[in-house]
């Protein structure tokens, strides 16, 4: 059994699709966002580069829960979108938190939720007969699909762990640094530094 789905390319549909492609061009894809980031935050963050028209978060139904958030940000025009891209790619850009920077990329058609059907696309499907030589191949492919999905999930988990590791390591460093500065501060504050300086006959500049 074969059936076709055919989406015809009427001029209006084409115009519609062309308009959509334009929209894709002026949209950027942001990822590595914190889940705490809300639309107004993204808006204010990117409004410095150009006028943000629309922000849409991409819901994550598949991956682990603590994966980074991503969003599509539509700018007013292509030029602004490019400006945002180059800016964010040049410098690590932080949105509501540090030091993990967000990342920006040009958006792709498939990232959009409500998109028009591409005119002129033709879809065919057919049920394979069980005695069809392709049947076995198709079954293998189905198994492969599941395997691939499992692999991807595993990689995702691994990466999440790496992220966690890095975050922990950085936190440790930061804490260490902070402790050091705090200690310096405190010995300055409680006069220990001055006392020691006197003891060792050193001259300490008073600030």
């Amino acid at each position: 059994m074969i059936f076709f789905l055919f989406y015809m390319g009427s001029s209006a549909a084409q115009a519609d699709y062309a308009a959509f492609l334009e929209k894709v061009k002026r949209t950027i894809y942001l990822d590595h966002l914190s889940p705490q980031v809300t639309e107004p935050v993204v808006r204010t963050a990117l409004n410095q580069f150009g006028a943000v028209k629309n922000v849409q978060f991409i819901p994550n139904y598949m991956g682990p829960r603590n994966i980074a958030e991503c969003a599509l940000v539509e700018m007013e025009n292509v030029r602004q979108a490019k400006a945002v891209l180059s800016e964010i790619c040049q410098f690590p850009f932080m949105i509501s938190g540090m030091p993990r920077p967000v990342r920006a990329r040009p958006a792709q058609v498939e990232m959009f939720d409500e998109r028009p059907i591409k005119p002129g696309r033709r879809i065919q499907c057919r049920w394979l007969e069980e005695n069809d030589p392709d049947f076995e191949v198709a079954r293998k492919m189905k198994r492969l699909t599941n395997k691939h999905a499992a692999e991807a999930a595993f990689l995702q988990k691994q990466q999440l762990q790496e992220e966690e590791k890095l975050a922990k390591q950085q936190l440790d460093t930061l804490k260490g640094n902070y402790k050091k500065y705090e200690m310096v501060d405190s010995i300055m504050a409680d006069g220990t530094a001055r006392r020691l300086a006197r003891h060792y006959n050193l001259r300490v500049a008073e600030d």
């Binding site: 789905l5 055919f6 015809m8 390319g9 009427s10 001029s11 209006a12 549909a13 084409q14 115009a15 894809y29 889940p35 705490q36 963050a45 991409i58 819901p59 994550n60 139904y61 598949m62 682990p64 603590n66 991503c70 800016e87 410098f91 690590p92 850009f93 932080m94 509501s96 540090m98 030091p99 993990r100 920077p101 990342r103 498939e110 990232m111 959009f112 939720d113 028009p116 059907i117 591409k118 033709r122 879809i123 499907c125 049920w127 394979l128 069980e130 030589p133 191949v137 079954r139 492919m141 189905k142 699909t145 599941n146 990689l155 990466q159 790496e162 992220e163 890095l166 975050a167 950085q170």
Partner: protein, 674 residues
Amino acid sequence: MVEADRAEDLGFKWGKTKGRGKKGVGEKQKIVQFYQSFIYDGMEYGLYDCVYMYNEVEPEPYIGKLVKIWENPDKTKKVKVLWFFRPREIAYYLGAEDTAENELFLASGEGVGLANINPLEAIAGKCNVVCTSKDSRNPQPSDEDLRTADFIFYRAFDVGHCKILDKMEEKVAGIEAKLLFNKVDVQKPDVLPKLDSDWKEVGGNALASKETEVPPKQNPSNEHISLKINGVSTDGLQRENADSNASLAKQRSSLGENPASSLGGELDETTKMNDRMENISGDSINLESKIEENLDLKASYINKQKSSLSEHPISSIGGKSEISNTNSRQENISRDKTALRPEAAVKEEGQVGNNIFRIEEKLKSAHDHCELEDRPSKKAKFDSSVKVPGEKNESSVKKLTVDLDGKDAKALAAVTASEVKSRLELAKDSQGAEKDPSKKLKPDEKSKLSYGKLPQASPRQYPDEDKKIDHKVMDITRRPDADKSRWFRAFPWEDRMKSAIEQGTLVLLQNLDPAYTSAEVEDIVWHAFKESCRAKMIQQTSISSPHCVIGFVGQAFAIFKTREAADMVVKKLTKGCLLISNGRPLVGSIGSPCFPEKNPTFFGHLVIDKLRHQMPREMREAVSTSHCSQPNTIEYDMAMEWCLLQERSDLSWKKLYKQQGEELRKLKSSLKSK
């Protein structure tokens, strides 16, 4: 003379002219310009070319042959299209008959469904249909022709007798059979003038006289059209709305023409009216399932057509503007509410100064309606489709009650207006109309408009709605889906998914082409399982879409109506193999998405607790803004570490997908069929 390039839009250009024809008689005579070819959307179309015709209902376009091309004095461009049937559309009459995958049946005989007049803009593209008939008149196609053919045909379907014809008739819709066969490569120039004369004669008289006796024969073919429409209507709630459009597109059939020609022609308006008339009959037939009844109705409609024919030209002389006004108004009414129909008619009657006859007719049809709708919708072979409307009714009743409170925007959504409801209204109103035809129309209108449209609106509109309808046909972007999505915005997808998980009706589909849209997924599901569902493609992210897309599989969640349906789909997909055109079999499983938590942990944003406490209150509450990090800070160094990690992760994804793509490609190459 008509200049060839007068068309407004750039994509359009007339080709060679083909003489002028007359439409109408006497003073109202109207000269239209016929053409042999035109260029539309960069594609050249000629007479007897096969085209896809856009239709709003079916996922697949209709296919037909252009048999007449002309421009009316008011610059509307029209084509007359002789239809092809897909085997699926006439499956009932085909019985056990074997058909090739890409076989079509040429409409022939006399009756509804043979040919229609359509706005030229409804053409959706060229279609390569090759005739493989062994008929001696048919230039036999080469192997190459057959290979490149989109469709083939060698049999015809008699729309009058509902029979499959193995041989081509001498004339189909007044067109000589030789013109319907494959074209001789280069048409000799001297053939064309000859066509000309053929045309005048044929188009004018033969056709007309043939078709005037249509009524008794129409029924069966109507039935199949209605079957088709019905099947579609199950597809989605809103498509029911589109139903009416479909009938406009397809059923603007030869019937519409024929009263015109039988009376010898008339004003443009009248032709349009006739189109409409015939829509009316088409629509009503839609709802019909018994043939005798069909006959009945038919007869009355024909009467009506005639009477309106005689009355309308008069009125259009009288006060045209007035009439169009009322008509467009009335059309709104009747479109928005069938229940209003009788009243609307009354109103018109008032304007035109006509008899009460028609009210009666209408009442009768209204009656028929009620009866009709009581019956389970359609034939056995549309099992599934029969089932679904029922369900839909229920749900739409519910929705209606919600939407009733008003807002016109929602009226659109309420298109689904439950049949139950409408039936009641219908009965009520028709009574009312009988008693007191001219009673306060306006308040009525208003109050009822908010109910939204009735699906399959019965003998809907009358005259002059044409312009609007035309517009509708051309307004091709407005797919029913668009309405759907708007309609469902009220129910966030996430909530629907959650309840679907509880009910076990959520299915995760994998291995789709990532480029598919949700609507296309719904269509695939509909075709493969005859189940309607709401689907949503999972949006890609950078993780799912590496730069090499080979490895990525499109995934979608689909919510089915019942748990059984969902289970059935999963089972079928597990046991069988549904190969999609990207060469991958669809994989289905009961979906178990995860939803974002309230306070998920996010690695990489570091805060030193003490600092947070020391932070002044205002600062904590301020919307934290953003900044670029400067290279001389510790933050910058850390950010660099993150960038490094991101790059590394990208690389590993890329590698994984590449490897997966390789594996897949290897398997794919062992597929026999492509």
